[in-house]
C-alpha cells in the first residue's frame, strides 16, 4: 500500500512529464520534414562564414542533415535532456518531511513502517517513473519515423533511453536527498536546478566529462559506444545520495 501512496503523490507530475516529453519527441520527428526544406537556405547563409560561430553552426547542420542526427540534436541533446532533468527533479521533491507542511507526517510516521521503508518505497516508485519517462519518449521515434519516410532503430532508442535514465536517476536522488534536509518543496527544487546549471557550465570547461554528455548519449551517437563509466558513476552517486537521504531522515525530529 505504500507503493500506492507513493504513486498517488507523484502521479500527476509523472503523467505530465511523460506526456510533455513524448509530445516533444514526436514533434521533433515531424520537424525533420521542415528542417530538410530549410537546409539549402542555411547552407547558402553560412557558405562564406569562416568565423568560429559559423563553424559550429555548419557542424550542427551537418549533424542534422540525416534523420538520426536531427533526432539526436533536437530530441536527445536538447529537449529530452533539459526536460528530463526538470521532471527527474520534480519527481524527487517531496516525501515525509514535506508532509510536515501539510500536517500528514504524523499520521504517516504513526504507521508500523520504518522511515527507511517509507523512503525506499518512494525512491523505488520515483526511479521506476524516471525509467518510464526516459524510455517511452525515445521509443516513440521508431514508431513515428515511418510517417516522415525515415527509419530509427529501436536499439538506438533504448540506448538513448538508458543514457537519459542514469543521469536522470542521479538528479532524482539529489532532489530526494535535499527533500530530507528541507521541509518545503521549493528549496530542494531550486538547489537541484542550481546544481544542474553548474553542471551545464562545467561542461563548457571539460566537455568530455560532462554529465549532460552522458545524458544526451553523444558518445553513443558519434561512436556507437555506451558511456558505461558514466552509468556506473551516476549509479554510485545516486546510491550514495539515497543512502544519505535515508540517514538524514532517520535522525530527523518531527
Amino acid at each position: 500500500m505504500l507503493w500506492h501512496k507513493a504513486w498517488l503523490e507523484t502521479r500527476w507530475r509523472f503523467v505530465t512529464g511523460l506526456l510533455i516529453l513524448t509530445v516533444m519527441t514526436g514533434v521533433s520527428v515531424y520537424e525533420y520534414v521542415l528542417a530538410l526544406r530549410m537546409m539549402p537556405l542555411a547552407d547558402s547563409v553560412l557558405a562564406g562564414d569562416a568565423s568560429p560561430l559559423g563553424a559550429v553552426l555548419r557542424d550542427a547542420i551537418t549533424v542534422q542533415r540525416e534523420f538520426r542526427g536531427f533526432i539526436w540534436y533536437n530530441a536527445f541533446r536538447d529537449n529530452l535532456t533539459t526536460m528530463g532533468v526538470l521532471f527527474a527533479v520534480l519527481l524527487g521533491c517531496g516525501g515525509v518531511l514535506a508532509e510536515g507542511k501539510k500536517g500528514t507526517a504524523l499520521f504517516t510516521l504513526s504507521l508500523p513502517v520504518t522511515r527507511r521503508r517509507l523512503l525506499g518505497t518512494r525512491a523505488g516508485m520515483g526511479l521506476a517513473q524516471c525509467f518510464v519517462i526516459a524510455m517511452i519518449p525515445p521509443l516513440t521515434i521508431p514508431l513515428l519515423a515511418p510517417a516522415v519516410g525515415q527509419q530509427f532503430s529501436v536499439v538506438d532508442a533504448l540506448a538513448h533511453g538508458l543514457c537519459l535514465f542514469f543521469v536522470g536517476a542521479l538528479f532524482y536522488s539529489l532532489a530526494a536527498f535535499l527533500s530530507t534536509m528541507f521541509g518545503d518543496f521549493w528549496r530542494p527544487l531550486l538547489i537541484a536546478f542550481g546544481v544542474a546549471c553548474v553542471a551545464a557550465m562545467a561542461q563548457f570547461a571539460a566537455p568530455e566529462y560532462g554529465l549532460f554528455r552522458i545524458m544526451n548519449g553523444e558518445d553513443y551517437f558519434r561512436n556507437g559506444t555506451l558511456p558505461w563509466m558514466g552509468f556506473v558513476t551516476s549509479a554510485v552517486l545516486a546510491s550514495a545520495l539515497l543512502y544519505g537521504a535515508a540517514e538524514t531522515l532517520e535522525r530527523r525530529d518531527f
Binding site: 503523490e9 510516521l109 504513526s110
Partner: protein
C-alpha cells in the same frame, strides 16, 4: 520498567534548539487505564507524545511504550499495536475516505473489519468522498476510525476533540468509552477540556514546563485533595501555614481558602488562628489542574 505499565518514561528530556520542551518527564500510565494527559499550551504534551511514538528523539532519559523503546529496531512493530490521532488530524487529501481505510488496513494485522463498518455508519463517513472535501469534524471522526480499527492495545490521542462542536465532541467521547468497554485497551488522551477528562478518564497526568507535576488515579487525587475554607470574624490573618501538604493558600476578605492533600493537619494548624468557621469540601479536577500548574509559577 514494569509490565503493568503501557507507557513509562524516566527522566525524559527533549531540547529543540534553545527550548527545553521536556525537562525530566517521569510518566507512568497503567495498562488498561484511560489516562488524561493535561497541561497548558506549550507544557510539553505533544512533544512527549512524539517521543513516545518515535517521531522525535529524546535528548536524555528513557521511554518505553508497550515494553519497547520507541527508537529501537522493534519500534515499527510496536506501532502496529498503537492507534494514534494527532492534534492536527490532517490526512492524505489526495485520497478518498475509502482509499485511506484501504491503505491503512493491510498495515495492521489486527484490523477490525466489523468495527470499520460500525464506525463508518456511526460517524456517517462517506466512503467515496475525497478527504479534502471533509469538514474538520468529519476528518476527526475518520482519524478516529483509522486509530480505533487497528485493534490496538494502546490509543494515543492528542486532543481528539479539538475544534469539534460539543455534539461532535460528545459523539467522539462516547465512541471512545464504548470502544474501551469492549476490550483491554489503554487510552492516553491529551486534552484541554477538563470536563472531558473528568468524564472518561480514570487516571490523569498533569505536566507543566516539561515536567510531571501530578499524576495518579483520578479518584485517589480527588480523595486526597480537599479545599478547606476558614472564615474569620475580621480580616483573614496573614500568618503563614507551615503544614506539609498545602498546595495553595488564598486570602479574600474574611475568608482564607487552602487547597491541601492533608486537610486534618491544616485544620489542626489553623485552629490556632481562631477561625469563626471551618468547612472542608472535595475539589474538582479543574481545581487540581489549575492549582498544580499555578504552583510552578
Amino acid at each position: 520498567m514494569s509490565d503493568h505499565l503501557a507507557i513509562e518514561t524516566a527522566d525524559l528530556w527533549k531540547r529543540y534548539d534553545d527550548v527545553e520542551a521536556l525537562r525530566g518527564l517521569n510518566l507512568q500510565v497503567p495498562t488498561g487505564s484511560i489516562c488524561g494527559f493535561l497541561g497548558r499550551n506549550g507544557a510539553g504534551k505533544t512533544t512527549a507524545i512524539k517521543v513516545l511514538l518515535g517521531m522525535a528523539r529524546p535528548t536524555k532519559g528513557t521511554a518505553r511504550v508497550l515494553g519497547v523503546a520507541p527508537n529501537d529496531a522493534g519500534a515499527a512493530a510496536m506501532r502496529q499495536r498503537i492507534g494514534f490521532v494527532s492534534d492536527e488530524k490532517d490526512l492524505y487529501d489526495y485520497m478518498t475516505v475509502g482509499e485511506i481505510i484501504a491503505f491503512t488496513r493491510p498495515l495492521f494485522p489486527g484490523w477490525r473489519r466489523e468495527l470499520e463498518q460500525t464506525y463508518l455508519a456511526t460517524f456517517e463517513l462517506p466512503p467515496h468522498r475525497g478527504i479534502k472535501d471533509l469538514s474538520r469534524g468529519t476528518r476527526t471522526k475518520l482519524a478516529l476510525l483509522l486509530a480505533l480499527c487497528r485493534g490496538a492495545e494502546l490509543l494515543i490521542l492528542d486532543e481528539p476533540t479539538s475544534g469539534l462542536d460539543p455534539a461532535m465532541a460528545e459523539d467522539v467521547l462516547r465512541a471512545l468509552v464504548g470502544h474501551v468497554a469492549g476490550q483491554e485497551t489503554t487510552i492516553f488522551f491529551s486534552s484541554h477540556q477538563l470536563s472531558e477528562v473528568d468524564q472518561i478518564c480514570d487516571h490523569v497526568a498533569i505536566v507543566d514546563r516539561g515536567r510531571l507535576v501530578l499524576g495518579g488515579a483520578l479518584d485517589d487525587l480527588r480523595g486526597r485533595y480537599q479545599r478547606v475554607q476558614f472564615v474569620f470574624a475580621g480580616e483573614a490573618p496573614h500568618a503563614s501555614l507551615k503544614t506539609p501538604g498545602i498546595v495553595r493558600v488564598q486570602r479574600q476578605g474574611r475568608v482564607l481558602t487552602v487547597l491541601t492533600n492533608d486537610s486534618e493537619a491544616v485544620i489542626a494548624d489553623a485552629r490556632a488562628l481562631s477561625p469563626a468557621s471551618i468547612d472542608a469540601s472535595p475539589v474538582t479536577l479543574k481545581d487540581i489542574f489549575l492549582e498544580s500548574v499555578r504552583t510552578e509559577d
